[in-house]
Amino acid sequence: MAVSETVVATQPAATPTPPASRRRPRGRNAAYWLYLLPGAVLFILVIGAPLVGTLYLSLTKWSGIGDPRWVGLDNYQQLLHDDVFWASFRNTIAMIVAMVVVPTLLGLLLAAVLFDVIGRRFKPRTAAALRAAFYLPQVLPVVVAGIVWGWILRPDGAFNSLLDAVGLGALRHDWLGDPGTALPVVMAVMIWVQIGYPVVVFMAALQRVDPELYEAAEVDGANWLHRFRAITLPQIRPETFVVALTCTIAALKVFGPIFALTRGGPENATNVPSYFAYYTFFKKLQVGYGSAISTVLTVIIIVVAGVFIWMQARSERRDRGF
């Protein structure tokens, strides 16, 4: 994920059309449709049709064999009374805290410190090396990292041994096996996975900020915190929006780490909608019900993305007003 968003952050999205193109006769442009043809056909086959299919299946009961039986909105009604469904969405909020809120705040702080303090008062190489350490988990297959973490957190794993070694053996625990600790521990792993992405995006964003702004503020006697709040935060707000949006979408969709760490357990303490849907599809063979879960998740993602984009557009308009 991470990287492309970096690119997006720095690209002006969907540029306005210069008036010149309107003067050209339509016939000339029509030939360009031909170039869209392969992409459009693939898009309809791989995304459009399956999406409609899932929507249809969510209104049926089906085990994947034979013919789906139409049941109307039954699946959705059942969802409303399904504790696992509600638990999975509560856990999504925990995932948003672990994958959006904490990494964005911590990332802002780390990026500012790395860029402003370490990058300038020490060698830039030092800052680059530290940034690489924070970013490393982002380039790895998240499932593989999840398997390593799963072993570390096992009752006989490295984390408990570490507690023993530092004299905190009393705290030994089955971290992922206890419903009380599984979610906080998974959240901690997700922070570890996610933190590098905001750090890298924000550091790239800071390079864009005019250094003279900082120098002027320093001459005026502003301390580091003042400068952080008055210059850094407002200057990199576009990137903050992009990071918050992409991380929120990623948190809503999170699957691999849950699969590798806990499979949603124990007792659904770490279940999330996408794992719940996967499990319902392929383990319980309730295709209609799984489709309903997926459809609800899809709608939530679209709404969240819409709200973000609307907020961003509004804040840009406000900026121009000044």
């Binding site: 990287v3 492309s4 690119v7 720095t10 690209q11 999205a13 969907a14 540029t15 059309t17 442009n29 360009y32 170039y35 869209l36 992409g39 693939l42 898009f43 791989v46 995304i47 049709a49 399956p50 999406l51 899932t54 303090v117 370490i118 990058g119 830039p124 030092t126 940034r131 350490a133 970013y135 490393l136 380039v139 790895l140 297959p141 499932v143 593989v144 398997i147 973490w149 570390i152 794993g157 041994s161 570890w192 590098g196 790239a204 390079q207 250094p211 320093e218 699957f255 691999g256 590798a260 909608p273 849907a277 996967y278 599809f281 799984g290 997926s294 459809t295 998740l297 993602i301 993305a305």
Partner: protein, 293 residues
């Protein structure tokens, strides 16, 4: 992927009095951030420490001890049991094909949208962007069912086709906005020389966008390499599975004692770390090029 700061942001301009102010506190900050970075690396240290330990050594001395011998049997067991070279080939075949095809489809789409400016293009671009955000669960069952019906189930081709489309949804969005700023004069000059649309695409647009396309190619490759859900559902046997799916499906298996798990994770991570090291400069260039617009 990590942007490398190649140029120091002019440390020479620092006002002199600053040095007095921050003599100590900067070291405190450096220490704290370095500690944070070390915490990030601890899981890798644990993994390395245990990947070359014998099972007996592990069970008697635990996960924190230094290995008594350089034990590579865990690594070799994993390598041969899962037929790692084949998994590597599957991952490379899938990620490589998706990268090339995804960029090609993105380029064609974006040419129509960004340069051809076909009607309704904003809606179409929005649709592509939305497609990129969809949860894969919303597509997976119909894809799985149809793949079974037409005999593409458990083939690398099914995964290649699906990810070509998913990745190109993002690529189209990105390239369409890049092409929207493409210098019109270049296009018009080519048209005056009598170049058709296809020639313009290959001789004018493509060479100019090559750096952006290279970055996109690498992103697509790495993202596809790391994908999990769709390969997990579509690829069910040893012949077709990718590296992450192979490791995950052995989780909890009798074969996978702690040293073997760590050894398996280690070799599964090596390719990703290599891409990171090889490509980070290219990616940094791409990101900086974007930022200068």
């Amino acid at each position: 992927m990590a942007v490398i700061i190649t140029e120091a942001p002019a440390p020479a301009r620092r006002p002199v009095r600053d040095r007095h102010h921050r003599g100590v506190s900067r070291w405190v900050v450096l220490t704290l951030v370095t500690l944070g970075a070390l915490v990030m690396l601890v899981p890798f240290a644990f993994m390395l420490l245990n990947a070359f330990k014998s099972p007996g050594d592990y069970s008697s001395s635990g996960p924190l001890s230094w290995p008594t011998e350089f034990y590579t049997k865990g690594l070799r067991t994993y390598w041969t049991e899962v037929n790692f070279p084949l998994k590597l080939w599957n991952s490379a075949l899938i990620a490589g094909s998706v990268a090339v095809l995804g960029v090609a489809v993105s380029l064609l789409n974006a040419y129509a949208l960004g340069i051809g400016r076909v009607r309704g293009r904003l809606w179409i671009v929005g649709l592509f962007l939305l497609a990129n955000m969809l949860p894969q669960e919303a597509l997976i069952y119909p894809l799985y069912y149809v793949a079974k019906e037409i005999g593409l189930y458990n083939t690398q081709l099914s995964v290649i086709i699906i990810f070509t489309v998913i990745q190109s949804a993002f690529g189209t969005y990105l390239l369409a906005s890049v092409m929207g700023t493409f210098p019109r004069s270049l296009l018009e000059a080519a048209a005056l020389d009598g170049a058709g649309k296809w020639t313009v695409l290959w001789r004018v647009v493509f060479p100019n966008l090559r750096p952006t396309l290279a970055v996109l190619l690498i992103f697509f490759f790495i993202w596809t390499w790391n994908e999990f859900l769709i390969p997990l559902v579509m690829l069910i046997d040893n012949q077709t599975q990718t590296i992450p799916v192979a490791l995950a499906s052995l989780q909890g298996d009798r074969l996978m004692d702690a040293p073997t798990t760590n050894a398996g994770a280690l070799i599964s991570l090596v390719p990703a770390i290599l891409f990171f090291l090889i490509f980070q400069r290219t990616l940094a260039r791409g990101i900086t090029a974007g930022a200068e617009k």
